[in-house]
């Protein structure tokens, strides 16, 4: 069998995976002589489970996957190349299309990197509003994940509930920034504008609704026995494998790694001003990943609530020259985005535009584990695992 080649030299994580495969294979392979030639199944590029155009080439034996490999690139837009012909202010309008569900969060690390190179620091009020909008985009992003999770597993109602309540968050983002999906609100040295009047009170109301949404999803989906049986023990990622593949965000924390860049990294953002819990789960399976995300959404609403109470007064824009030229240098900034660690390695040559931008997107690393993870699972588990890894196609292909 291809999946069982070289079990002697397998690493620790591989052994865990092999034992998991063996336990699953035991049911399916009572009679070895009944084994037939496999079938290659192309899942995607147009497939409901790939939210976008990801293609997964799977070699099947019955319903069991012998090997599977994602094939990306159907949506590669070449952002790293495009940034090289754009000026720094123009880049933000581009990069908030990377992870289009949490777009504001995409702008922040790039702007922080540019600010770091320029030696500019945004005023505190701007940092607080940035953090609030960052967490709002996290809520908007992950709440859609929670709904979409239901669709992937066959429940149709959660996605509508998710869309209903995500709408409130999008309305908030829109009334503050002007853009529902692509705010382009972050500027080097601060924010484009201040919040409109009444926004803070409105946000507090919405945060209550979102907590209620989390409760509903928990009752509708996470408590459901079928959901649990579909996700528990499926797609187990041990800690050391997660580290090797550079998984980040909830995927890493679900493997028992207590690591959150919001807490564990010096950042000018306002996260160190609030009190929040970093949720982890020891299991590393699909359920753990989904559960961690659910808890993080709740936690994010609490972070927003705390931040709303303490927005300092003052300007939202530091003094920056009208024509922005970034001094020569290199900087790396990453933040804990909804999908995981998103970072930009910015190389500047003293021009108005960057010389090279390496976009380290979370989904690329998160999805790169799939060939390892999908061996030996069943076809429905492919969907479960992909859904629980949670990728946004724009974030893989960039």
């Amino acid at each position: 069998m291809t999946i069982l080649n070289d079990p002697v030299n397998a690493k620790l994580g591989d052994r865990a995976q092999l034992s998991y495969i063996a336990s699953q294979a035991a049911d399916a392979r009572l009679n070895v002589e009944l084994e037939t030639e496999g079938m290659t199944l192309n899942i995607g590029p147009q497939h409901p489970a790939t939210h976008g155009t990801l293609r997964i080439i799977a070699r099947l034996d019955g319903e069991q996957v012998l090997w599977a490999e994602p094939s990306c690139g159907y949506m590669h837009r070449g952002y790293e190349k495009l940034t090289e012909v754009r000026s720094f202010p123009q880049v933000t309008s581009l990069i908030n299309r990377i992870d289009w569900l949490g777009s504001f969060a995409n702008e922040v690390p790039f702007i922080l990197a540019a600010e770091k190179l320029m030696g500019v620091e945004a005023p505190p009020r701007a940092q607080w509003i940035r953090t609030i909008l960052f967490e709002l985009s996290r809520i908007a992003n992950v709440s859609l994940f929670l709904g979409d999770l239901g669709v992937q597993l066959g429940a149709i109602t959660p996605v509508f509930i998710a869309f209903r309540d995500r709408e409130y968050v999008l309305n908030l983002i829109e009334s503050a920034t002007g853009g529902r999906f692509h705010p382009n609100f972050d500027r080097i040295g601060g924010l484009k504008d201040d919040l409109p009047a009444g926004w803070v009170d409105e946000t507090k109301v919405v945060m209550k609704k979102l907590r209620n949404f989390c409760d509903e999803i928990e009752a509708l989906l996470f408590g459901n026995e079928i959901f649990q049986s579909r996700t528990r023990g499926i797609g187990v990622i041990p800690r050391d494998v997660a580290m090797q593949y550079g998984l980040s965000g909830a995927n890493l924390r679900a493997s028992g790694v207590d690591w959150d860049l919001r807490r564990d990294q010096d950042s000018p953002m306002a996260w160190n001003k609030v009190d929040f819990k970093v949720w982890t789960h020891p299991d590393g399976d699909s359920f753990a990943r989904c559960w961690v995300r659910l808890q993080e959404t709740r936690e994010a609403t609490k972070i927003v609530d705390q931040l709303l109470d303490g927005i300092p007064a003052g300007p939202v824009m530091a003094k920056v020259p009208k024509i922005i030229k970034v001094p020569e240098g290199e900087a790396w900034v990453s933040t804990e985005n909804p999908l995981g660690e998103m970072g930009y390695y910015v190389v500047s040559r003293g021009d108005s535009g960057p010389f090279r931008v390496k976009i380290r997107s979370a989904s690329f690393n998160n999805i790169s584990i799939t060939p390892w993870l999908l061996r030996g699972v069943y076809v429905p588990d492919i969907i479960t695992i992909l859904a629980s890894l949670y990728f946004i196609l724009g974030d893989i292909d960039r």
Binding site: C72, G73, H76, G78, E80, K81, L82, E84, V85, R86, K116, L117, M118, G119, E121, D240, V241, M243, Q244, Y245, G246, L247, V257, W259, L261, D264, Q265, D266, P268, P327, G329, E330, A331, W332, S334, E341, G343, Y345, V347, R349, G353, F355, R356, K358, R360, F364, N365, S368, I369, W372, D397
Partner: protein, 218 residues
């Protein structure tokens, strides 16, 4: 937060003992493999290792505790011969400086590898660079050290044309299999900026009979 980066004079007094210690440790472990290193206090660490020791340095760094693989990429230090694609197609192409100037921690070659590893306990990362020889652009693969580097190396291979010795499966990741050229190299033109002239070239048409001849504007 202290403003760290605006000028060398300001950064000088700031000392970052943690990162200095890290560099000292790395230099002790990797020995002669480290070509150069740079610490920006409170910010980040850069080290450059020799091309030959690329793979072994990664193994040693992983054993040192830098076990989280963040990303792998490459940098093409050649300045773009096309600028930002804002030239007037009717004018002769402007002369551009094409000297290769490396970034932090220096370098002798056009292409450089860039890997970021993070210590999962202290959450401090290092940026590791290595030169990619100009003849053939090949370097050792590190996918046997960090399994996650597999896809990143495939991406770097198709985008920069860097060969990775020992990579199990160096197929194209994004581009069609028969794509020619390496899009992320600076001398690969960005077609979107070539197919039509920049609208910003156009200027206000001067008065007839002014100093300048009214010129035809496309």
């Amino acid at each position: 937060m202290v403003n760290l980066l605006s000028s060398p004079a300001e950064t000088a007094p700031v000392v970052d003992t943690t990162r200095d210690q890290i560099v000292a440790d790395i230099r002790a472990t990797l020995g002669a493999s480290v070509v150069d290193s740079l610490v920006k206090p409170g910010d980040d660490v850069w080290i450059r290792v020799t091309t030959e020791s690329w793979n072994s340095s990664m193994q040693k760094l992983q054993a040192m505790g830098f076990d989280y693989f963040c990303f792998l990429s490459a940098i093409d230090w050649l300045p773009s011969p096309f600028g930002r694609g804002e030239d007037d197609p009717t004018e002769p192409a402007p002369e551009r400086d094409s000297t290769i100037r490396p970034g932090y921690t220096g370098g002798e070659t056009r292409m450089q590898m860039l890997v970021r590893l993070v210590n999962s306990r202290t959450h401090v990362g290092v940026n590791v660079k290595a030169d990619v020889p100009n003849d053939g652009y090949t370097i050792d693969s590190i996918s046997n050290v960090f399994a996650g580097a597999n896809w990143h190396e495939r991406e770097a291979h198709e985008m920069f044309g860097i060969g990775f010795v020992g990579h199990p499966d160096l197929r194209n990741m994004y581009l069609p299999a028969d794509f020619e050229g390496f899009p992320m190299r600076k001398d690969f033109p960005l077609l979107a900026r070539m197919v039509k002239p920049w609208p910003g070239i156009v200027d206000v048409e001067p008065l007839p009979g002014g100093d300048a001849e009214p010129e035809e504007v496309s």
